[in-house]
């Protein structure tokens, strides 16, 4: 027996998916998260799945520990060493007021108090030339000035991305003189300009470092106690995995590991189905997320804000370009002062949760609206393990239906449709805003609430096809099983495209690939044999422009490189912005390389139903559809459907972790791999 085990810790549930590589089926389990002791939740998930840990050959893991430490401000006592004159950069940020009419606007609390932000004399230029040498005496003095209770230190010096020498010397002195401290140098994490963003990256890494290292240590000890000798891998925000040892040093790369793993899973199951480009759509309890997968590859952003753009902390680490909106099952519907109906972004969370949970919640949520609308069966929530109270859902909706002077059903439909429009915005942000038409995509919907809203959302956006993967409720953990080992590197290389020597470009790419593959190779262990493949990309812009477009470079860099690349850039610019300027010079900003070592993936799943009975378990139930009409919907059970079965709407297919709502005119077919493909409306 050789098992690969993946465990994803979320806000409410801890999910596990495991695969017996010797030819067994997938095993899934879902238990409540234990906030005070996450390892205990992992242990319960393992027990619930009845796994024998000595049989494990690999353990892949993702959690919200790092990101929650940032959002809840529970990180380590962290200091910062920076260039003289710049210690306040971290506190001041970019100095703007994104929430511009709010007289009480407040930027995020600075993660390092001013007294712990220390300066040293030195200065680099943007060219990498040392304008002022580093003063070793000042470095020693700064280290001596660190109070005894400091646990972690970030180092970020101005222009270190261009020449990290001074910064690395400061970090080396710290490690030598104070070996007990957790030390993060910015250039170990990012080699890109913008001092506030790079400083934040180093600070966030240091801030969560001791906590993540402690957690990983406890998890490793637990696994060791249970005779598990498998290597421990941690998922990253870029849709890759890395070893636990690297995660302990670079935890800032793991902030969005769960959402990223879900997208990776969607890309993986989508590839053999040949539907073209996909939109991964994940709707959970508090938010919904969307990401485009074009040509089988999820889009990657070079930077993002932890906690949102308005008051979040930016970090310069690659991140799957996931757009998140505040609409999840627990999002609260309410009336504003002008009598307008609003949904979210506030969520009832798991405590008290939606009113239907019967845990004391009285405000109406999206889940309550779905119960009233018959879209969720209150008696089959979590496969019947948790019963919902439809009466409480009605009472909660009545709180807003009455002042609006509309019926409770009408109100439930309005809440669902508004939620759909909010989620449609997330999908538009990753498609329409980038010059793409959602009608050319297939929507892959997962997460507890994703399948409930998938077809109405698709209808809203005129997306012709919806794919509901097998096991949608534990899909992020499944994604971890199919996530490859991956490392991204970038180097600034500036110059006009026409005048850059192609040999220089080729050499730089080769150097980056060498470095990235060394990084990946050194982290292949536990008998993981894999060949390494590379993706090369280049940042381009018109001379004088600031923001680049990042484009993939295929094939060798030869004498045609400039001409071919410029032509592709003009086309891409026109596609993205609606205009191009072929008569103008194109400039290179940076070269980027991704090294990927593939892992073995589970084969497509089979359906388990003994014979084709269509999975229909009862005659029908009343379901309120988006056009405001009640229809009698045939009710099916997902686990009783076989490959090739079709279900015509109006219908619902109940899954232990979710329900799939199918409208009149929609048609669902069970695909290879036990995935459901739904053709939506007139597209059928």
């Amino acid at each position: 027996m050789s098992w690969r085990i993946a465990v994803d810790i979320g806000g409410t549930f801890t999910d596990l998916v495991a695969w017996n590589q010797d030819g067994g089926a997938l095993v899934r389990s879902k238990v409540l998260t234990v906030p005070d002791d996450p390892v205990a939740g992992v242990a319960q998930a393992i027990d619930h799945a009845a796994l024998h840990l000595p049989d494990a050959t690999e353990f892949v893991h993702g959690s919200t520990i790092a990101i929650n430490a940032v959002l809840e401000e529970r990180g380590a006592r962290t200091a910062l060493i920076t260039t003289r004159g710049f210690r306040d950069v971290l506190e001041m940020g970019r100095k703007s007021r994104p929430d511009m009419y709010n007289l009480f606007f407040r930027p995020r609390t600075c993660p390092v108090p001013r007294g712990l932000r220390l300066e040293v004399g030195e200065r680099m230029a943007h060219t990498g030339e040392a304008l002022t040498p580093l003063d070793p005496g000042e470095v020693d003095a700064a280290i001596a000035a660190l109070p005894a209770d400091v646990e972690a230190v970030a180092v970020c010096l101005l222009h270190s991305y261009a020449n990290p020498e001074h910064e690395q010397r400061v970090a080396a002195s710290l490690r030598e003189q104070r070996p007990e401290l957790y030390v993060s140098a910015s250039t170990d994490l990012s080699r890109e300009a913008k001092e506030y963003e790079r400083t934040c990256t180093a600070v966030v890494n240091a801030y969560v470092g001791p906590l993540v290292a402690g957690y990983v240590g406890r998890l490793r000890a637990h696994l060791t106690d249970r005779q598990c000798s498998a290597p421990l891998l941690i998922t990253q925000s870029n849709g890759g995995v890395m070893t636990a040892e690297v995660a302990e040093r670079e935890p800032v790369r793991t902030m969005e590991s769960g959402p990223a793993a879900g997208v990776t899973g969607a890309a993986w199951i989508g590839r053999p189905l040949d539907f073209g480009d996909l939109i991964a759509f994940d709707m959970g309890g508090t938010s919904a997320k969307a990401c485009v997968i074009a040509g089988g590859v999820p889009e990657v952003a070079a930077e993002y804000h932890i906690g949102g753009r308005v008051s979040g902390l930016p970090v310069q680490v690659p991140f799957l370009e996931i757009v998140e909106v505040g609409a999840g099952g627990g999002s609260v519907a309410h009336l504003d002062a002008g009598g307008g109906l609003r949904v979210g972004p506030r969520s009832a969370g798991s405590i008290p949760g939606p009113a239907a949970y019967g845990r004391g919640g009285v405000e109406p949520t999206i889940t309550d609206a779905n119960v009233v609308a018959g879209r969720i069966d209150p008696d089959y929530f979590l496969g019947g393990e948790m019963r919902l109270d439809a009466g409480l859902a009605h009472a909660a909706l009545a709180r807003i239906a009455e002042p609006l002077g509309i019926s409770i059903e009408h109100c439930a439909n309005a809440v669902i449709r508004i939620a759909d429009t909010i989620m449609a915005e997330a999908i538009r942000a990753v498609t329409v805003e980038r010059g793409r038409d959602p009608r050319d995509f297939t929507l892959v919907a997962y997460g507890g609430a994703g399948p409930v809203h998938a077809t109405s959302l698709a209808a809203e956006l005129q997306i012709p096809r919806v794919l509901i993967p097998a096991g949608p409720g534990t899909f992020a953990a499944y994604g971890m099983l199919v996530t490859d080992l991956r490392h991204d590197l970038a180097r600034t290389l500036t110059g006009v495209l026409d005048s850059i020597d192609p040999t220089t470009v080729a050499n730089r790419f080769n150097e980056l690939e060498h470095e990235a593959s060394a990084y990946v190779r050194s982290r292949l262990e536990g008998g993981r044999e894999a060949s390494i493949r590379f993706v090369r990309r280049v940042d381009l812009r018109y001379v004088g422009q600031f923001h680049p477009l990042t484009m993939t470079v295929s094939g060798d860099v030869d004498s045609d490189f400039a001409a071919v690349t410029a032509r592709r850039f003009h086309v891409a610019h026109a596609e993205r912005y609606g205009h191009s300027a072929p008569e103008e010079l194109v400039e290179v900003g940076a070269l980027r390389v991704t090294a990927i070592a593939d892992v073995r993936k589970p084969p497509a799943e089979q359906t388990s139903a003994a014979e084709s009975g269509g999975g229909r378990v009862s005659v029908s139930r009343r379901v309120l559809y988006g056009d405001g009409r009640w229809r009698s919907a045939a009710v099916h059970r997902r686990d009783q459907l076989r490959v090739g079965d079709t279900v015509a709407g109006p219908a619902v297919i109940d899954d232990p972790a979710s329900s799939v709502v199918i409208d009149e005119g929609d048609r669902a077919t069970v695909m290879d791999g036990a995935h459901l493909l739904i053709t939506v409306g007139a597209a059928a």
Partner: protein, 574 residues
Amino acid sequence: MTAAAVLPDLATIAYVRHALVAAAGEMMINVKRAAYSPSIHQIQDVCVGVVDVEGSILACAPGLPMFLADMGEVVRDGYDTLGRDVFEPGDVYMSNDPFTIGTHINNIATYSPIFFEGALAGFAVVRGHMVDLGGAVPGSRSTRLTEIYQEGLRVRQLRLYRAGEPDPAMMRLIGDNSRMPEAVLGDLRAQVAACRTGERRVQALLGKYGRPSFEHAAREILAHGDRLARAAVRAIPDGTYSAESFLDDDGVDLDTPVPIRVTVVVEGEGMTIDFSEFAEQTRGAINTGPAGAVAIARNAFKCVTTPHEPANEGHFRPLTVIAPPGKVISARPPAACGYWARTTSTTVDTIFRALSPAMPAAIPAGHFGDIPMCLINGYDSNGRRFVFFEPVPGGHGGRPHEDGVSATVCFHEGDTPDVPVEVQEALLPIVVEESALDEDSAGAGRFRGGLGYRRVFRLLGSSASMQINVDRHRCLPWGLHGGASGRPNRAAIQAGPGAPWQPVLKQDDIRLGPGARVMLVGGGGGGWGEPAERSRAAIAADVEAGYVSAMAARRDYPGTVDGADPTTEDGHAD
């Protein structure tokens, strides 16, 4: 079984509202990403939106709040100037005339008609700051200019694109009149592309719902905005509220303060902001046309009524603005307008000051109220010309429940991030030596003001010429309810290493050699409430962090910090 077979109307309205805001958001992303100038791609000195056929704002994207009023004004002026029937699909018009659409010459508004099934359905509008449009000085503005004619190319309601194609004559006209033609034409292309994005998105909405439903939703969106604003005004006690402050001078007559007097009348669900007592238009370039008065009043009104809503015209319906012609903010030609932004933030803050007795829990103390600025122009090492400016942030006022925020842009600006030092040094021949909070700048109070900001940079090249323009040096950021004033904005230059620092407030054509230094300081915010009521823990924390020196703490909060209390005011030593 099938009860009401109609779409829930309010869901459709909510959908259209979200979709319009999303359309404006897309326009903003596109203009910013494709732009050439730091003023747009970094500082985001730009505003975008969708307006209806009457020129009412349906949705706009966060950017520069002070660009609000002209979103619709440029369309209304287009009707007045060109007539209603002139627009054709694929057209883009432009205007930058301060006397009809507000602001100054640099800000070009481009707008394109949105057609659906052959009929006009609205407009997409983008307004951005062009780095140079000619005139007497690089950057097209100077404290010493006294007429609009010196400030560059003024264009009113001319067609920039026809049937989707640029008009080559217009491109030549603009390119030939700018010191930075590539940047300006590139930025204009980005603006036009954003207009096209807005057109497409609104057309898609019209296609989806049909014109009657779309128009019904649009009316409801504005009516809902109106209801929200009226509910907020109703909560403010009726009364007539006045306040006064001043600018140091107009930049030309250096010893004459410019009085800023506002009166706010709250009556039931309506508010009137009256600028009748405001300063007459000046010779110096701090003026703007009547749309400026509307923009300022709307900005203040929005903050005290519907701050959390994406703006639409409905939010401003309960507001009446009185601005007799010929005031600084309702100027007539040929007033110079280059530095119109000198006036705006302080006027907004003065409106808040007037309202503070009526809504004490909602109004912070005064902020630094200006855009202290150094505009640099010269040639880089490749011989390419550059013109660069960066607004300096400062401290905001203490609040009824907490300290003010530090080093943040003034009320004129909003979602307008600074240019990182690492980016700036790659663009300009300077070395920034310090970018820091200005200690001891905050006004004392139960809740002190936010700290100001200090930036020192050294010149590497000798070809640079600079303008420095700093106001609110004499009118200190005021405290409220017993709080003390913050330290004011200021600037200084040092000709070379070891040379004395020379204070400077407004000066043009400063020429300095390599090694010279410039210091710009944004002032601190005023304090809220009596300093004696500040908690000892907060005072101790400020001293520990160095936000407030021990000496200043002993002066401002006597008896709370160990050591002898200073007996004399220690002044504002620079």
